[in-house]
Amino acid sequence: MFSYCADPSLLQGFQWMSCYLTSGTHLLFYASFGMVLLLLAVTAPIALAFGYGGAMACRSPIGPLRWVGKTYTGMVRGVPDIVFFLFVPIALDQGLEWLRHQALCDSDAPVRQGNDFVVCAAAKLPLSDSPAWVHDTYALILAVIAFATVFGAFAANVLYGAMQAVPREQLETAEAYGMSARQVTRRVLVPQMWIYALPGLSNLWLILIKATPLLFLLGIEDIVYWARELGGAKTSAFSYPHPDWRLYYFLVILVFYLLMTWISERVLGRLTARLSAGQATLAGEAQRKAATA
């Protein structure tokens, strides 16, 4: 990074530290924080969509669809999320490659040959000659799907509860105005449910933040991976030898998560206050009283 970093073995004190903290691996470490944020930004809306679908399925008048919804939400509740994280990406990867194998390969060779899971070159996901970033993105997409599956089920629980909590009178009023079932859902149920869903969704967001270190278990090089890699004792085979510093790296990660939580709580608190305006809830009532007083 700096001009004096050419030969780290000659450096001392502050200069050594400044070069150490800007070495190639450290830049990757800093970049991995961005990846965690990216994952959060991508996963949250997808999980919400999964959740909306699950909640609608649970409310559906069609029996089989309702059972699917209930099974989905119930199963994720009963099984530790980490089991899903270990299982979903690898199952999905093999499943997709199997489908492509059926469609794109003209060989009749079975996919499982002994221990190997082999598909033809054209069916590989991503293709083996694609650049490294495609592979990284693909792994990240599988991770996002695994996260969205788990958190979608939780979100479905929350949204289902919120839909049930919308006062029945409001829906009946809408029906009395002659709205169709779809219109009631779109114009009344969905806009009105957010205030009831917000406490649950806020909670869910905080859980999602705290689940991101599990990326590490999916073989993605996230902040936990780099903290372990960089913190471990380094011999003189490396440019910057040092003893075991893992404790300090984990402390940095701890501070990062505490900050994320703190900021999220502030933002969500404001959002709740805004959404409460004019609602038939205790918070809304309090706001009205404060305004008239």
Binding site: S23, D93, F117, G232, A233
Partner: protein, 244 residues
């Protein structure tokens, strides 16, 4: 006509594969000097990276390196996430049942026990080893209590902080650590050279015979012209074990 068409597609597929196929080389990146992440650049470096690049050049293949955690390195090979493993993996019967190996590219490298004092009881004490290595399999079959860690780094840390009495790993991996510990870590007497495994080889899927033959030929070539021995000396020092 139909047969001709099929033959043409197969031919096209075969030639297409030969020209554009990139070989993805899996490694761990946490086992210096075999493979590690160069902290100045963030890329993988080490004996196996040098060797792998040279082998690819000789076999006229385009290669790219992929890092993967040790405990899932074989599953990800067989599910075709990459095509080879060069990660200090000793050849043994159990692994041969699952994947194929090239001929070894190191002579049978011994393993060794390192500890805080030379008189540790490695047959009855607590011994740290990396999960799923031939060393952990060996410790589990002795009278010692096996303590498993996912990375080699943690096995050494466990000895330093007293969690384990000794660490059992490849001697070449432990040698620089023992040397630079200023006498803190020492070899365990009588156990500083334990022959284990048949040498380190490149792992491939069993169905990938063509690729294996290419790499095998390149390794043979490097053994014959002495360039493999030069690499061994470069990374493991003057008194490294070399091929005759």
């Amino acid at each position: 006509m139909k047969k001709l068409l099929i033959a043409a597609t197969v031919l096209a597929a075969a030639t297409g594969m030969a020209s554009s196929q990139t070989v993805r080389m899996g490694t761990e990146g946490a086992y210096p000097p075999y493979n590690f992440i160069d902290d100045a650049t963030g890329d993988v470096a080490g004996f196996e990276i040098d060797l792998g690049n040279e082998l690819c050049a000789r076999a006229e293949l385009e290669c790219t390196w992929v890092r993967n955690d040790w405990d899932t390195i074989i599953p990800n090979l067989v599910s075709s996430n990459y095509d080879t493993i060069m990660a200090g993996m000793n050849i043994n019967e159990e692994r041969k049942a699952v994947i194929a190996f090239t001929q070894p590219y190191t002579p049978g490298m011994p393993s060794a026990y390192a500890a805080l004092s030379a008189d540790v009881d490695v047959e009855g004490g607590v011994v740290a080893a990396q999960t799923n290595t031939i060393q952990s399999g060996h410790v589990a079959s002795t009278g010692a209590t096996l303590l498993e860690f996912p990375t080699p780094d943690e096995t050494v840390a466990a000895v330093r902080n007293g969690e384990a009495d000794a660490v059992f790993a490849d001697k070449d991996f432990l040698a620089p650590i023992v040397e630079e510990s200023n006498g803190e870590l020492v070899w365990v007497e009588g156990y500083d050279t334990v022959p284990l495994g048949e040498g380190i080889g490149m792992g491939l899927r069993q169905s990938d015979t063509e690729l294996r033959e290419k790499f095998d030929a390149a390794i043979t070539e490097m053994k014959q012209d002495g360039s493999l021995n030069q690499l061994l000396v470069k990374w493991f020092g003057e008194d490294a074990m070399v091929f005759e």
